[in-house]
Symmetry: C2
Subunit: 223 residues, 2 copies
Amino acid sequence: MNSDTQPTRSLNVTETLREQLLQGEFAPNTRLQEIALAERMGVSRTPIREALSVLARDGLLEYAPNRGYTVREFSLQDIVSAFRVRAVLEGLGCRLLAEKGVPVDTDTQLQHAIAWGETLLQSSQLQGGDFDQWREMNKSFHLAILLATKNDLLIRFAKISRNIPIVFNGSFRWYSTRDFQRSQDHHQTIYAAMKNGQAERADNMMQEHVMQAAEILQRHYGQ
Amino acid sequence: MNSDTQPTRSLNVTETLREQLLQGEFAPNTRLQEIALAERMGVSRTPIREALSVLARDGLLEYAPNRGYTVREFSLQDIVSAFRVRAVLEGLGCRLLAEKGVPVDTDTQLQHAIAWGETLLQSSQLQGGDFDQWREMNKSFHLAILLATKNDLLIRFAKISRNIPIVFNGSFRWYSTRDFQRSQDHHQTIYAAMKNGQAERADNMMQEHVMQAAEILQRHYGQ
DNA sequence: TGTCACCATTTTGTATACAATTGGCGGCCT
DNA sequence: AGGCCGCCAATTGTATACAAAATGGTGACA
């Protein structure tokens, strides 16, 4: 697996475990016991404990003193709630950028993401069920906006609010061609609004954009 | 001090340290070394490490692998940014409550907080420089709203966004009588808007309320 | 049959020993 | 003098031993 991309074992274990949790490799409410994990990952309990502590603070695990950690269960309600929070956070990001102006390097990144999206819509990849590029394009668009705000707390919270199992990979599985097109339109509108200093519009559009993703997920959740 | 209110040493150390950081007892950029802290608090390095890890994830410390933790420095910009995030989060809380209706027990708590605020405005405590009760009243008002949303992520983020040194105690020190009155008015307006299902109004008002606190702090920041 | 107390086992919490990394000092070479 | 290198002390990272708490099961007793 992706061993040793981080300087310490604690950090490596944390990222590996996070990845596995986000991919849904542990059933909800499963107890994660330190010794079992330690053996499984070939390290001692110490880095495992640190990882569990971090992941609990990120909301992926639940912790009870003296009783250990369990995999948190996310109800549909939980997921929609998280989207709502993410919507206002990313909306704020757009508002801030519209107010203070879009830095040039951010501008470049956003234009690039938009052009990329356009290309993907034209290609047959999305029909073929290959969403990796779209996912990456989407991530770079949203992240570029957040990072440009220079608002630490905002960046931190927005990242955490994305790290939810099921949701994590984007629910692009469920997207119709129409949905992809609308999403691309949103990106363009948001970009234009920010460039024109239309803070309110950029904010609202981003919120709408995020909540539409939530709706698609909600529609298809029960299979 | 407040020893042993928590079931484990790790948790106790975390809360004690957090308290000290929020009270500004450590100068920004100070290195927090594990051994020194361990001796100071009469425990081993293990619980200290866990506490440091948690506090870093809460944004109070900075961490560099193999180099340890330092006290994070908050610029005025950082603080105002945090207020802005908190504003949209608590605004969202009000919106959600206005949409779904205020539960009865929350209603009671809010009414109580408002009545309490009224009493405090009448009393001479605030003139006397005793802000403890006001602080408590204010906290119970804001927390009641958040908890009633049942939105985990929202609650978590809102709490973290409050935990910033200097800001933490509320900057009531700087408040004039007029400021307290305005704050109380805001609470009443927000409450009324939520009760009437005026989501937009409740949201806006709460955002205004939070940002006015930010402005007062900003005015008095450089002493 | 159900309840409770007790003990053994398992699991988490804490201390500590050992390993790895960092940063600084001093000597050495150019 | 300046810069490079290697050693040493200090500090963090990791493993492990030990302590304390929770869990589960057994049997006495009502």
